[in-house]
Symmetry: C2
Subunit: 476 residues, 2 copies
């Protein structure tokens, strides 16, 4: 059989000009179901006899689209460290490893570092902490993603021009085994010439003056990440704002490389919280649109790649209980993320140690729209759903060390707050969304491309080829 997709890829890029302005958008945990659920949700909100064709995200309209395999060196299911290393360096490695080989000895150079060495400016943005695996693979080389202090120091040493998003998890190296610690990561970065910006006013005032910039969210949330988009006040700095600022500060005659991670898509999917995931897909797409605007102003020399590093949660767009129907519009009743609900539930528990399910129902209704009015509303709970809520509420009201720890409990709750994850399961299932895992899955993810050399991203290829295609198109 004469089946080679590689040949046409190379042929079509040989004579083109280099891609001078390059954006790599990584939706962490964003597989096909995450993309499709965001589009179907939008379509479902529009009334009409027949639904609109779901096609609302900017990147699903990109002219080139492919499917990307994500397995790592030792496992069909990757983590963000090994998949990030594949995308950033073109090499398969083990779960947990940040841009080093499978022996954890040799450092692997990232496309971002190569771009920097060629005189391009480089920006790294993430909605989770900036020392998290996906951003880290572009500027750091460590054998374990848990070495967040070391990763933070390497950030400061990278010389990259722009960092933005969440904060750092271990600023003072409390979890680090380093013998001689050079002090607080932020202070260390200042010594290395970074201008640190951690409030909106200073961020908005940033102008291109040649300084290296590290912008940290003014509202650090869970694990130093940015807030979930569903919880973000409208006037707080967004992923899209960070992307605009990167473009403004990095635009220069030698070009730039910008990586933007939508990291909280993944976290929401780990927790099986579809509405929070979908809103973070929209926030991610808003950032992509900034790049598309730039590309339209700089045609022939801008390349935008949008991909996922893996799927997360085993999300599907169909549930046994709803059969062939979907009711995605029901998701709009969810007003806060599972994390924010956890906080409210914690306060409730402290104030009401002997509460029953009915006592917390007003909070559930307010937060997720679920009601218990005997079948009068489409948001009413069924008997079966109420039994699930009762069981999980009983678990939630127990002390952590008294909770069930058998296989059934893990499958039901995945280590999350039992009542909260049961609520998102129920709401998602009412909408017609199912989940099978609290971890990543091994199904290939879609990759979208727009601009200079985009057509090389059509077809079916491994995530390591994203690196090789980028390097080829950037001619670095």
């Amino acid at each position: 059989m004469c089946l080679s997709s590689a040949q046409h890829v190379i042929a079509s890029t040989d004579s083109a000009k280099p891609a001078k302005y390059v954006f790599v958008f990584i939706g962490d945990g964003m597989g096909l179901p995450q993309v499709a659920s965001a589009e179907i949700y939008s379509s479902a909100l529009k009334s009409g006899k027949y639904p609109e064709a779901p096609r609302v995200l900017s990147f699903t309209k990109f002219p080139a689209q492919g499917l990307t395999t994500t397995h790592d060196a030792s496992s069909f299911i990757t983590d963000s460290a090994s998949s990030g290393t594949a995308i950033a360096t073109g090499n398969k490695t083990l779960n947990g490893v940040i841009s080093m080989d499978v022996d954890k000895k040799n450092e692997l150079k990232s496309v971002a570092t190569m771009a920097k060495e060629k005189g391009m400016k480089v920006g790294i943005i993430s909605s989770v902490s900036i020392d998290h695996a996906t951003p880290a693979v572009f500027y750091a080389n460590v054998p374990s993603r848990k070495m967040m202090y070391e990763i933070g120091l390497q950030l400061a040493d990278s010389g990259f021009d722009f960092f933005a998003g969440g904060g750092v998890v271990d600023p003072d190296g409390k979890k680090s085994k380093m013998e001689k610690k050079p002090g607080n990561v932020i202070e260390y970065a200042k010594q290395k010439g970074y201008k640190i910006v951690d409030n909106k006013e200073a961020f908005s005032a940033l102008k291109p003056d040649g300084s290296k910039v590290w912008a940290v969210t003014e509202m650090p949330a869970d694990e130093s990440a940015m807030l979930y988009e569903i919880d973000r006040p409208k006037d707080a700095v967004s992923l899209s704002d960070y992307t605009s600022k990167a473009i403004e500060l990095l635009d220069n005659p030698n070009g730039f490389f910008v990586m933007v991670e939508g990291g909280k898509i993944d976290w929401a999917c780990h927790a099986n919280d579809a509405m929070s995931a979908i809103k973070d897909v929209f926030a991610f797409d808003d950032a992509v649109k900034k790049a598309v605007d730039f590309a339209n102003a700089h045609p022939d020399e801008t390349l935008i790649i949008v991909t996922g590093d893996h799927e997360c949660g085993g999300m599907t767009l169909g549930f046994a209980g709803t059969k062939y129907d979907t009711f995605f519009q029901k998701l709009q009743h969810q007003k806060i993320s599972y994390v924010k609900f956890d906080q409210k539930l914690g306060q409730f528990k402290s104030s009401n140690p002997n509460a029953q399910l009915k006592d917390v129902m007003p909070l559930i209704t307010e937060s997720f729209g679920l009601t218990n009015k005997g079948g009068k509303s489409e948001m009413d709970l069924t008997e079966y759903e109420i039994s699930l809520l009762k069981d999980s509420f009983a678990e939630t009201m127990k002390a952590e060390d008294a909770r069930s720890s058998d296989d059934g409990a893990y499958i039901a709750y995945g280590g999350y707050e039992p009542l909260t994850v049961t609520i998102t399961h129920i709401l998602n299932r009412k909408a017609g969304i199912g989940w099978t895992s609290y971890s990543h899955t091994g199904v290939p993810v879609p990759t979208y491309a727009f601009g200079a050399g985009a057509k090389t991203f059509d077809g079916y290829y491994d995530n390591t080829e994203i690196f090789s295609k980028l390097v080829s198109l950037m001619k670095i």
Copy 2:
């Protein structure tokens, strides 16, 4: 934004020669998880420190690959009738409708009929009954897929050159409301000039003599379908054999159009039986390989499309209980399909009306490899899994009308034999495969293309565009 993928599609096909030999392979219920699970299963069977890159199916190596949306006129989740109508005629319609419009009044002409009218020979092959929705949309026009007698008559009236696969469901029109029934469908087809072949010897002896041929499986199984591949004796006629024979009989100077459906992929996924689905994907791929061999002998004038009409079962490649690990090699212990196990279980129940779970364990071990030896084997059942088996066995031993019918029971068993579906759930979960539904889901499916004009099938497009691309490339 200047985002149009349609333009490049048209431009690249204008000057080419027509696609003269056209194959459309439809994996019913074959979404990305079904394809990926087959590839990962193959890879998992090979030993070695690190797994081989999973890339074993012929069509995942095709040079052109796209993603296809499958929603129908009124629903984000399609059935095979409306998705088949979209692929065959380019029109969105309602669930259950066979190549008629949403008003169920106007007939829609299929690409197969158009090909026939242009003088091409036409073959229709399916591993399920030949009057089932997917094959029917290519030759029949009826408001409901349930009108199987009418569909059978329209098959005989179609004048198409070759039909093969399963039998017919309602040969004598017992479920039909037709006033004047022209008798048995098979006899009617003979009157219309069809040579009926229902045994291997006669099938093998078929030679191209200009006759219209209708070949029916010699071993009709559930609902007049072919056997599941996992149950098929090696010497019984396969989907691949039917495809070879179609090529042999239909090859002629005016070209041909052949549709081959892998219909039992869908049925296995409805029942959440991964091993049976994967083996049927392999059988489907074996048929595709016959087309690829023909294409390599007739380059520049052969086009092969492989697609799914929708995903089925909400299959995912990751399960809560196995977290980041997969153990697909465990699936190889399954020796028979869920249907064949149901038959054995029925016999067991008749002979042992007062049996306990331990009494049926030998049959379970023999059929699925699951053991109860206290944790000595990787196929040993956990306490949690045993509790699931006990509950489902108790349900199975009840009379059908005494079984639980609440939401929880439907979610657990989906109307299937409780013990059987619990066994496949347990085996699949041990392997790292999850399911969320017993119905179809709404996630887009991959489409693969090889040969003349294949590159027009790159990108992201609706299933109705498969029709328009085909018609454009075939110039019919």
